[in-house]
């Protein structure tokens, strides 16, 4: 459909359109997999989509884009995520 360009502010969604926002982080969430009960509250609440949900509902943290807000640690009912200051 698009036959010509116009200069204005357009951006198309892609991972990391604004660069690796994980560099903004001051506190780093650390996941203790032994405590995790796969409730997925962290995955639901993460505002950045930086919690990666695996096939078996276990989770991993995408440190390239996690800004360290700590919401996952606050929402985790079994305290499987702790926030530690970045070095």
């Amino acid at each position: 459909m698009k036959k010509y360009d116009v200069v204005t502010t357009l951006s198309y969604p892609k991972t990391g359109a604004m660069g690796k926002t994980g560099t903004w982080r001051i506190f780093r969430p650390i996941l203790n997999k032994d405590k995790c009960v796969k409730c997925l509250r962290c995955w639901i609440f993460c505002p950045e989509g930086a919690i990666i949900r695996k096939e078996d509902d276990s989770v991993e943290i995408d440190y390239d884009y996690c800004k360290g807000c700590g919401i996952c640690a606050r929402e985790c009912k079994v305290k499987a995520i702790t926030m530690e200051r970045e070095e």
Partner: protein
């Protein structure tokens, strides 16, 4: 082709209908009201195929137009005076987003004191928004300009919103005969819009996201380039219209009896039409005076004005005032002549708040210049026509 006798506002509504906008979002305000009433009537009678959105303010009207235009719709609205001022933020938004919205602004003076009569302070205050501004001086020009405005706005080299302006009551509520082409002929002249980008859930895009300082100047420069492109396209579109439908009102400016003129009046909108009558009167008196009626204020026809100033002094009549300085057209005319012309430029303020300016008044303005009674900017209104 048929001839319709109707008011400027009803002619504007008819032009808007024939341009087949997908969306009209508007809020009524005197003296624009009868445009939106007429469009509502078209909707009620099933003669209008687009969506008509009733909104709660002009800020919302322009916001709805922006959303619709961003989704790819051909979009029309209309307003006046305080309505236009309330839209101001979104006018910038529409232009920076490069959305080809067409809007009628029925010029009305600003209150307080409460006024519904014409002057151009409302649209002149939108000068820097990026909108193309066209000023009309007859109902035929209103009709032709609105349909041409869609073609101009939607041109791939322009992609800017266009404001079509005309004086409240003087044109908006005055009936004149207008040649109206058939729908099929309008459709041939104005094909469907082909947007450069659209908001589409199937192909997601973010518009208006953050832009870093290093990139921002380029979007402003692109708007400036688009206005320059419009300067070339306005005459081309007017020529195509003339060939198809026979009516023509000038390119960026309409020149009248300028060839051998010692003095040329520069004005716009209804004062431009009144000046034409004044020119005939002055010519009969043996005074070599011509008229250049500006049809566009943005883009500004600086090259045309420079060429007019080669052999004539210029008399600028503004129905508008930039408080603290002078008439806006007076300022711009002098600016484009700077270091390029020795022509003298005389500035007059006339007709604010709808104060009547007759062709005899324009004759008196010209006489003042010829008799060298003019010094600086003259508030003709305050003279009481003396």
């Amino acid at each position: 082709m048929k001839v319709v006798v109707d008011t400027g506002n009803h002619i504007a509504a008819l032009a808007a209908k024939l341009a087949k906008p997908d969306v009209v979002a508007a809020y009524p305000i005197t003296p624009q009201t009868t445009i939106v009433e007429k469009i509502a009537e078209y909707v009620a009678k099933g003669e209008f195929s687009g969506d008509y959105i009733c909104v709660e303010s002009e800020h919302s009207a322009m916001s709805a137009c922006i959303g619709a235009s961003a989704a790819g719709a051909r979009t029309f609205t209309a307003t006046s005076a305080h309505g236009l001022l309330l839209m101001h933020e979104m006018l910038h938004w529409a232009a920076l987003a490069r959305l080809p919205i067409v809007m009628v602004n029925v010029n009305r003076a600003i209150g307080p004191g409460w006024t519904i009569w014409s002057d151009q302070n409302d649209s002149m205050a939108q000068r820097d928004t990026g909108w193309i501004q066209i000023y009309c001086s007859s109902n035929q020009e209103i009709f032709d300009s609105i349909i041409q405005a869609f073609k101009l706005a939607e041109h791939k080299d322009v992609q800017l919103p266009v404001m079509v302006c005309y004086d409240g009551f003087i044109l908006s509520h005055t009936s004149m005969p207008v040649k109206v082409p058939e729908q099929k002929e309008i459709d041939d002249f104005l094909p469907k819009r082909e947007p450069a980008w659209v908001l589409d859930p199937e192909n997601p895009v973010t518009h208006g996201n953050i832009i870093m300082p290093k990139d921002y100047p380029s979007i402003r420069k692109a708007m400036q380039d688009a206005q320059e492109n419009a300067k070339k396209l306005i005459p081309e579109i007017a020529k195509e219209w003339k060939e198809r439908f026979g009516t023509y009102h000038g390119d960026l400016i309409e020149k009248y009896r300028c060839e051998d003129a010692d003095y040329i009046i520069l004005s716009y909108a209804a004062l431009g039409a009144e000046s034409k009558v004044a020119i005939d009167m002055l010519r009969k008196e043996g005074k070599k005076v011509g008229l250049a009626r500006l049809r566009t204020f943005r883009p500004f026809p600086s090259e045309d004005i420079l060429s007019l100033a080669e052999n004539a002094d210029l008399i600028v009549i503004d129905r508008s005032i930039s408080i603290g300085f002078e008439g806006p057209l007076f300022t711009e005319v002098k600016s484009c002549l700077y270091e390029k012309s020795d022509a003298r430029v005389y500035g007059f303020i006339a007709g604010l708040g709808g104060k009547d300016v007759r062709y005899t008044d324009i004759g008196k303005i010209v006489d003042r210049v010829i008799e060298r009674k003019q010094d600086g900017v003259l508030w003709y209104d305050m003279e009481g026509g003396k």
